[in-house]
Symmetry: C3
Subunit: 312 residues, 3 copies
């Protein structure tokens, strides 16, 4: 594999899940694969799970991780083509990506969307610029429109916890105080569309995700209806896609409660705002598998790095 | 050993000191003990010695250190129970601690007190929340009320430099321009109470440390009297404990001078404000062992990590 | 070698260049040399290339790099002698340098000039204080007046790309929107003065570099004249040295264009502001060797670290 920037780069999700489970059983088996190889982790935004689990994955493969907070540690990066750089940016991505490629064998990048300029966000300028100008493989640690390491993690977790041949999985929007990106929702949708599950989405009107991603996945604007017989309730807030980046008023209470989910397993990518997105009673119950889910971040990242290292 | 969060977790300080000295003589002896193990260093506050020496200790044991500035790199963490998280905090410690436990084999945490809310500081909310919600051992890299890696360092250093069977050790308050925590003072008191030394404290009136910690250790409000025949003068500023977190007016000059300490060895945990806490003439003389003391931070941390690794 | 703080510490630049090329051909040959040795990288300022390439160099030698942003991660450092430290600085360099020396086998430091106080900048207070108070070797990762890892990199690159026995090398000033240091220019001048090249400098009037550094190197105030028959055009902005730290008005357009450089190779230390310092047409042409130049940062750093490690 060259790059891992989208769930769509996974050809056969079931074989990936099986390989991830093998890695999880014996995480140090490929400790020599990444020897003398460096992974550059470039953060344009905050990170806890991604930062730690991707480093852990690299270490399990014998790689040397090098972490950099691009904004704080280095220079403002320019992405525009032909820009006269007499403003706040000091280095063009053409140079930055090409240069970092010479110090790192793989580059992992996190860069959130603006949520103010839909077209620009959808162009995935940062991620695609790295793909274009770097000479080494690029891993997406959450971009403007996708979080494929999370989506792969989620697929692994659902496979692990499923007790049915074809479980029902619901992706439910939930409230939040800040305008959040669509990346996690998008990648989860794409992962579920590749799995053998009954998959539906629940969100208030005005909060439908990008129809080019949801495609023919059923979307309910009634949470209760969507949750009926659910085996997994995956929860995530996102800002409006139609009224791009805005928080719309919602009449009903979409906070996830124990009553609502019944016996379904509760999933969330974390961080989660307790008693806003989901009540304590859910997170503190056995229904919640958010911690186990987060654990799989290591093995999803390790699988991706392994696949890339094998073709270096 | 499970956690190392307080000097009180040291059962026999003399045997610990001996083991630390053995480590110092041959720091790479246990290079295989921490192989394929990660130490997460989580900083809520600034650090130089702790940051570097704890990493060095981990490396000496073959561990992989992963450093994170929690505030800058990740999300605001909520510690309140049952909080409706619609404010500035984005992740609850319940999730954060449990998740990080899955990427790190040991978690080391630094979190200073508010110095405005005595009860909250004494509850050691951050440290105790990590102990409660993490599933791996916790090491205290300075909490609201204690700095046990420093206290252990100090015990080792006094043992190394003592030329008497029972030296006289004075902990002396000294002036400072900012309100500082009691953590270093507290842990030093607890360490000295466990050692075979004549131990007294000197501080201005109003600056007595927590009596539940000082217990029956003699407290002098007259520096000269306390310093009589001292073999070691350990200096540290702290804000008032009674008038919690405040800087009180002090009549005499408590700055440490060469005249005051005579032949005693001068110790300080560093960083130290020259010519405020102590005059240059002391720090630049052979009486000062602050640099050698700081060197022992590595071996104190290495001893603690070794003891934890041996029981993982 | 003890320290590497200036190009002037290179006795025979040709033998250094040859050794760097050998390292480049087989970068992992000395992987055991730095085993169990730590390199402390202390940044008082931003960095991308230096941060990554110096870590990469250390890893190639088997060292453990420990990175610290001094300002953000640790305490404000005081450099004044005899200062009463009742202001914003919390730790004196005397302690900081001596302490860090005990955790790191080599210390690398980056500290930019003020550009407001010429005398203070030329005293190289930060770098020289580390040299004075540290007990381990110091590597200059760009100081107030020099960037010798860059200068060595540049010498290696010119040697690699030269097709003549004695190529003509021009260092050309170019415009910029911010007042920049003289460090890169100075070290490049010093490196070229040691090599067998025809070396001239081109800059507008008022922008002559320190004459104690340029010595008898020809300085042209006419860019076109200087560029005649050039094989290499090395471009860099710097603020005025005479009118210290100021941006002066310049009549002509000194931006580097394809027309101006003809067949010469284009070099720049990066980051570079496109279409201000140099037009896109140059950077995107085969004449530009800025990326290859940046790659040599690793091998310059590795050579320096190797020479220091060999004498530890």
């Amino acid at each position: 594999m060259k790059n891992y920037t989208s769930i769509n780069e996974i050809e056969n999700i079931n074989s990936w899940i099986e390989e991830a489970k093998e890695i999880k059983e014996n995480p140090l088996k490929n400790k020599d694969l990444g020897k003398n190889k460096t992974l550059g982790l470039l953060f344009f935004n905050s990170s806890l799970r991604t930062r730690l689990s991707t480093q852990k994955a690299a270490l399990n493969l014998g790689m040397d991780p090098i972490v950099m907070n691009v904004s704080g540690d280095a220079w403002g990066i320019e992405f525009g083509d032909g820009t006269v750089m007499n403003g706040n940016t000091a280095e063009h991505i053409k140079e930055a990506a090409a240069v970092v490629s010479q110090y790192c064998d793989i580059i992992a990048v996190r860069a959130f969307p603006s949520l103010t300029d839909k077209e620009k966000d959808e162009s995935e300028q940062v991620l695609n610029s790295f793909k274009q100008f770097a000479s080494v493989p690029i891993v997406n640690m959450e971009s403007a429109t996708g979080h494929p390491l999370q989506g792969l993690t989620d697929a692994i977790t659902i496979s692990e916890y499923s007790t049915k041949k074809k479980p029902k999985v619901v992706l439910s929007w939930a409230p939040h105080v800040k305008a959040l990106p669509h990346a996690v929702g998008n990648s989860f949708v794409q992962a579920m569309q590749k799995m053998d599950v009954e998959f539906v989405i629940a969100n208030p009107e005005g909060y439908d995700l990008n129809p080019e991603i949801t495609k023919d996945t059923p979307i309910y604007h009634n949470q209760e209806e969507a949750f009926k017989d659910a085996d997994f309730v995956y929860t995530k807030n996102w800002s409006s896609y139609e009224t791009y980046g805005k928080i719309l008023e919602v009449d009903e209470n979409w906070t996830i409660t124990k009553d609502k989910i019944g016996n379904a397993k509760f999933m969330h990518c974390l961080p989660v705002r307790r008693n806003v997105v989901v009540e304590d009673a859910v997170l503190d119950s056995d229904n919640s598998i958010v911690i186990q889910q987060a654990n799989n971040r290591t093995f999803a990242a390790q699988l991706v790095l392994k696949k890339i290292l094998e073709e270096l």
